[in-house]
Amino acid sequence: MAYTKISNGGLLMSILPGLRTKLYLGTDHLLLVEQLILVERYKRIYFRDIQAITRAGSARWIVFGVIWGLFALVSALILLIHHPVALGIGSSCTLLFGFAFLQTIVQGPTCIVRLQTASQTYRIAPLERVRVFLKGMETIEPLIRNAQALTTPAANPGSTLL
């Protein structure tokens, strides 16, 4: 089955090994891939089972922005020590945390996204940036509506729990 990637959860999720969550689009379902170091888990959420997708704003990007910004600032202060080692460590740390800070700011506001079915609620971490969420919803929402318009209750006696 061919899958199209919707989101891979941002740069930080891509870099950190074993903590990746990706969202793919299948023909009649969404595939949530959760990687936990040595195992990859697949969750299929069929379009016909999706009842709602909810989103609430989150301050995570501000918190992380402040943390990375502070780290970058402290690293920059190390540069004041006139020593080659301090210069090396300070500049590399400043670059690293500065990049993380900029990346957090550029990616924009974060949110908490949950997808509700009759039996479960899934947290959709790959869509937890407002911009990514809106872009993803542009793709997903019409597909869900189409699938549910085509499915009559009589032809759909139960929800799939896989």
Binding site: Q51, A52, P157
Partner: protein
């Protein structure tokens, strides 16, 4: 019928207006502004499920519950199933036993729900002990293990979405370098003593 949504932040229920259209609503518990896309599945009338009926006369009985009337055959094994035993999987109806069996078959990609990542395991075996100062002695054992895993699962590793072999290559090179390092250390110690 589910008449409420759950707040994504605190999981408390939020009532859905009868119109079913909710753009933004404040969560009564945490006061978060919740936006929702509501789909017909939430608002559709509850499906009247057929009650499980007892098999009578010439009725075919369920394979698992012989007293119950069969309503549908399993899409894989063909066993007659009652309302209780039929499980919808995508477009198919299967019995629990077939689901359990098919999940182990890699050809049935629609049912597989996990895959082991041997490339990560190999990489973890090499990098983990190597970077930690106190555990680096264990690379003497973990490096050959990682090398074996890399070669053995080079073409055997299976994941639903496909995966590059870069990690295997890194694990192979790292473990070979570690083994060469150990060989040099052991040779040096032995020659120094003799």
């Amino acid at each position: 019928m589910a008449t409420h949504l759950n707040c994504p932040r605190c999981s408390e229920p939020i009532p859905v207006p009868p119109s079913g259209k909710m753009e933004t609503q404040r969560c009564p518990a945490c006061s978060a502004n919740v936006e929702a896309a509501i789909f017909p599945a939430l608002l559709s009338m509850p499906v009247t499920r057929t009650r499980i009926q007892l098999a009578q006369g010439s009725d075919a009985g369920c394979y698992f519950h012989s007293r119950y009337r069969a309503v549908i055959p399993c899409g894989d094994c063909g066993r007659f199933l009652c309302e209780l035993c039929s499980i919808n999987v995508g477009a198919r109806v299967l019995c629990a036993e077939c689901i359990s069996n098919l999940r182990r078959q890699k050809s049935e990609t629609g049912l597989v729900h996990h895959a082991a990542l041997f490339d990560n395991t190999a990489l973890f075996l090499v990098i983990g002990p190597a970077v930690s100062l106190f555990l680096s002695i264990f690379t003497l054992l973990s490096a050959p293990a990682a090398l074996f895993l890399s070669f053995y699962y080079w073409s055997r590793q299976w994941t639903l979405l496909g995966r590059s072999r870069t990690r295997f290559v890194i694990a192979m090179i790292s473990s070979l370098l570690l083994l060469i390092g150990w060989a040099v250390v052991i040779y040096t110690v032995v020659t120094a003593r003799s």
